[in-house]
């Protein structure tokens, strides 16, 4: 025949098992719900971000930042171009003294 202590231990084990199962089930359900960021939460964040954008004066739809396009420096004239320029200048002086 089982002693009083054995019965108590058995009841304790059953109690713990039931508590564990019950708590685990409710916790898993709670986490399943909490684990999803709802559409409302997402919309609220998006609205807040647009408010901040407006507050700091940024345009509502910001342009995509692009790298500045380097403007090539004018190349030094070649000796032939230089000679051509001098020739043109001399000719224009002859025409318009």
């Amino acid at each position: 025949m089982a002693s009083k202590t054995d019965v108590e231990n058995l009841l304790l084990a059953a109690d713990v098992a039931l508590t564990l199962a019950s708590l685990a089930a409710s916790k898993i359900e709670e986490l399943r719900k909490e684990g999803v960021i709802t559409t409302d939460e997402q919309s609220a964040r998006l609205t807040r971000v647009e408010e901040i954008r407006k507050k700091v004066g940024l345009p509502p739809v910001a342009p995509v930042p692009t790298m500045p396009v380097p403007v090539p420096a004018p190349a030094d004239p070649t000796p032939a171009e230089e000679a051509e320029k001098l020739k043109d200048a001399a000719e224009s002086q002859v025409k318009n003294p």
Binding site: I37, V56, A62
Partner: protein
Amino acid sequence: MNKRIIAYLSVVAFLASISGCVTRQLDPSGPYHGDLILYQADGVIVDLDTAYDEFEALAARNPGFFGSNEKAAALLDRIKIERDGIWESNEVLASLFMARDAYIHARDGTSHSNLRLAIQAARAFIMEIKAYGIEDRR
């Protein structure tokens, strides 16, 4: 009695272990369409704005401190520049917005990486601001 305590402690440990394993996911039907990094970026924008608000309020409450502490005054000036409505690429908030918008326009590896860097820079700036003892209310 001790057995009961040990048993219940094991239950608590079990539940804590479940909690630690769960990370929040976006509802894919929401406006972010499941894009977690974009949601995180927007969260950091909100945190940054809150930190600016709190720092400016701190400065308004403690004019003496800000008058005598050059570092704090410089940080306050920087925050004012951040919010002056002029878009500058070296500003933390503007950079984060730029990286965010670039990512929205072209979701590729580069824009993702740039957004991540902008988030890190913004978080570091928030930490710098909070070093002045502003309570984290979140």
